[in-house]
Amino acid sequence: MRTVLKVVDNSGAKKVMCIQALKGKKGARLGDTIIASVKEAMPNGKVKKGKVVYGVVVRAAMQRGRCDGSEVRFDDNAVVLVDKQGQPIGTRVFGPVPHELRQKKHVKILTLAEHIA
């Protein structure tokens, strides 16, 4: 709640603030879906400021354990905007994205991504 995340796709938004984590009592982690409100947007984009959107967390400053015992941690919190059915709103995803998205059934974001950590 109230975490400001960076948007790393070309949907038009720049920063969103999380208003609800869809799963998990303690908050959303890497690979989870959140509901967010757009706080800052590009002037001509697909989403406008103030819109309530769904997003998938693709980079998190909190480390997430992998099954081989290693942990992955990024330096910023980033999100990719999706619609309610899970389709990405933008067409390209910038920056690295982790492998965890494949397990979480977000292969679409993986195919749009340019680098996979």
């Binding site: 389709q87 067409t91 920056g95 494949r102 059934k105």
Partner: protein, 189 residues
Amino acid sequence: MWATLRSRYLHLSAKTLPSSSLTNGSWKLGFSGLNQTFSSSTVERRSNELLSLQEVEKVLSDVRADDVAVVPVGNQCDWADFMVIATGRSQWHVKNIAQALIYKVKQKQKGAKRMVLPSVQGQETGKWIVIDSGRVIVHALDEKARAYYNLENLWTAKPAQKEPVEELTKVFVKVRRINNSKKPAQGSD
């Protein structure tokens, strides 16, 4: 719906794939090698877990999917070997393509104790369905979604657009804040 699918399989004679359906030039390059060395190459062995490329091709031609493009991405990304992109004429057609592929996997694994099904994403809407079967990933889109996302452009032009590795390493480095105040930075003496 399964009855119609089954009847379609019964009526079809063995068809060779018309080469006019190939749109991607790089696909021809890869596949001509595949035909001769299919049994001995190790890369294609791995994709025989759930669905192999040839089976995917056959199913897509049976379902009459438009504009099938196969992109070999093995050299660009390590989590998949082939990406197959197919277009459906309507949302129902796109869902049908996905169902046909799952049916093929079920047929392949008939009689096994436990069936491993490929993961399907986007099944409720017929706009973009991804079927993840190990090394081969099948994307079924409708025409509007295909033009919107432009996946071939992304994956065939990928090596040229790759970001230099030096910029990427800078992303993970923590930058120290500039100290503009009169007080010295904490911890420095």
